[in-house]
């Protein structure tokens, strides 16, 4: 077939599918009924790094035309939004009303459907869990049962298979979820610089409970005495009386703008060990050793990369990939080995973060669980990274950890299966609602999920 070439945010793996943009639930149902043997998958804003929102040879439903809020209770903050609604729009509409999204990843350019399908997490996982915890109901179109409304108590298996189920249990058309009450749109942020990974992990262990939000940037290009040095950023929403005089007049002001777009794809090799080390050095030096009670805006605190449109082009023509893993508490030794190995092999790039996760939810394929998560970005033309990551994968699996599907574009099927022991329960639900496996994506093919 000939159609548009579709990729994830990493601009690697590439495939060709038929892209259509449904505007109604009926059109979604028609697309499922008329599917070819290559199947159908939903796509939101394409921020998954790898291949979950593409479907080679089949149909890709661009859900972004189905967007908007259909119900909102200003008392409880419970909102029903169509699946293609972006978190950015929710913020634009509801922050002035005093409601923030319950969970946000490092970009606001994700949809409600994508948030569910990947069970996204953010800097508040230790205090608020991942997205699925805040969902009270959703409407799915399934191949076997048509349009169904699912809630945690009506069909818990289907509900928790869909949370983190990368779109393979039905096309999500809307969802109802609780927003988070805020009095101001200002974050009170505390920054602490630490000389190594153990110190930052100690700080998080003893102090994260005092903060809503917490994440550490970690330097993965320095070795020796600088190995694992980190900058820990933690914060919470300010109360009105904590704002400066001027800001109190409009405590819920919100202005999220893109400052500029990366206009062209960067040349091959712009990010090399030398420039990466220089960047990391500058980033570490720029941070104050200890700076508490800084006032930051929502875009500056949560979505700094969104100020730079198409920033993925900065990684050159080969694209980029992310590697995000978690190891459970008790496997800190593995995390330290991973950090040293990444520093020693110089494969990582600049956006590397470490975070302490809170308890898991019941999602069969939900990524977060109690433990330490590390997210690493790499330029895809660093092919020597392949064998390094293969080796780290084994350590992570041996430690009882796993990989985040929204970031993955290269793990092996057996790595995935070892990290997700409830895969068979997921498959059973999927076989019930989609016995002919109409719902497919490239990720499921690559990881032999179905």
């Amino acid at each position: 077939m000939t159609g548009p070439t579709i990729t994830g945010w990493g601009r690697t793996p590439v495939s060709t599918g038929r892209l259509t943009q449904p505007t109604s639930v009926e059109q979604v149902a028609e697309a499922l009924a008329g599917a070819s043997s290559r199947g159908v998958i939903a796509r939101g804003l394409g921020r998954s790094y790898g291949d979950p929102a593409q479907n080679a040879g089949g149909t890709v439903l661009d859900m972004t035309a189905m967007q908007g809020i259909t119900a909102f209770d200003p008392e409880s903050g419970v909102v029903t939004a169509l699946a293609g609604t972006s978190l950015g729009d929710l913020m634009r509409w509801l922050i002035p009303e005093g409601w923030f999204v319950p969970v946000t990843p490092g970009t606001r350019h994700v949809t409600v459907g994508g948030a569910i399908a990947n069970d996204i997490h953010g800097k508040n996982h230790h205090s608020a869990g991942s997205w699925g915890r805040h969902v009270t109901a959703m409407t799915l179109v399934t191949p076997a049962n048509g349009i169904v409304t699912v809630a945690p108590d009506s069909d818990p298996d289907l509900f928790w298979a869909t949370i983190g189920g990368i779109g393979l249990t039905g096309i999500i058309v809307d969802a109802t979820f609780r927003m988070h009450r805020i009095s101001t749109s200002t974050i009170l942020a505390d920054t602490d610089k630490t000389p190594d990974a153990q110190s930052v992990m100690d700080l998080m262990t003893t102090g994260d409970a005092d903060y809503e939000y917490s994440v550490a940037w970690i330097d993965l290009s320095s070795t020796g005495s600088k190995l694992g040095r980190s900058v820990l950023d933690r914060g919470r929403f300010a109360e009105v009386d904590e704002l400066d005089g001027d800001a109190r007049h409009d405590p819920l002001a919100y202005d999220a703008r893109e400052l500029l777009k990366v206009p062209i794809t960067a040349p091959r090799g712009l990010l090399n060990p030398l420039t990466v080390r220089a960047f990391n050095e500058a980033w570490f030096r720029k941070a104050p050793k200890r700076h508490h009670r800084r006032n930051l805006t929502i875009p500056a605190y949560f979505h700094p990369l969104d100020m730079l449109g198409n920033w993925n082009r900065g990684y050159g023509p080969a694209g980029l990939l992310q590697w995000q893993i978690i190891v459970p508490f008790g496997a800190e030794e593995t995390m330290h080995r991973v950090i040293s190995e990444l520093a020693a092999t110089q494969v990582a790039s600049v956006v590397n973060v470490l975070k302490r996760f809170g308890p898991a939810n019941p999602g069969f394929l939900s990524f977060p669980r109690e433990g330490w998560t590390l997210s690493v970005d790499l330029a895809a033309d660093v092919t020597r990274a392949g064998p390094v990551l293969d080796r780290l994968d084994r350590w992570v699996i041996e430690a009882g950890g796993r990989h985040y599907l929204a970031k993955d574009s290269r793990m092996r099927p057996e790595t995935f299966a070892a990290g997700y022991p409830r895969l068979d329960e997921f498959r059973a639900v999927r076989d019930r609602v989609d016995p002919e496996h109409v719902l497919r994506n490239d990720l499921a093919r690559r990881l032999e999920m179905v």
Binding site: A56, G386, R446
Partner: protein, 256 residues
Amino acid sequence: MRDAFGAVQSVLVLGGTSEIARVTVAKMVRDGHTSRVILGVRRPDEMADAIAEIERVGATDVSAVAFDALDPEAHVAMIDGLFGEGRDIDVVILAFGVLGDQETFESDPVAAAQAASTNYAGAVSAGLAAARGLRAQGHGSLVVLSSVAGERARRSNFVYGSSKAGLDAFAQGLGDSLVGSGVDVLIVRPGFVHSKMTAGMDPAPMSTTPDVVADAIIDGLAHRRRIVWVPGPLRFVFSGMRHLPTPLWRRVSADA
């Protein structure tokens, strides 16, 4: 599906006894993520050792199927059947071909026609069938083992050279026809390759080995190249050779 580094999960080799193809597959399995290998060969029942060898380096799903370049009806049905199973094939390698002996061909034109049918006509039917399967799945690569012998015909092997010239032109056009389909064609143009096909022959200058050709194929796939020359500088040698005046070419090509 291929991953972000271009690693291949499944490969179909047409001409599974080709030394270049076997080295390529062994490298894909050992160094990459390739787990499924299908070898298309004339006599699949004689492939037990080759299958065991590929499994030994790490593939989990290796099989041999009947493939005869001179039987287009059968091999098109076989290729259609493989793609119809619903499991994706990331890469198809067209590796079959015969070198033959120019002197024999000149005294036995029927044998020459048969070699040309294998090298060219067989690749046309098999290549079109594979392209159809890859196009339907929306991703994949077709690797075509061409030869510098097709760049300019030599007195000493022009039956072989002309069949490769036809194959190369076919592969270029096929690649053009697949633009926008998610599928690409990689044309590989090796020089003289030391292998069982050329055993006992005097090597031409800038000769190479199956190992080097295999590396070039894997690198070409990872970077989605259109044409690779092995060794690389042959590209510049032949861009000159192509334009030599005929009397000079006759002398140069007879000596080489």
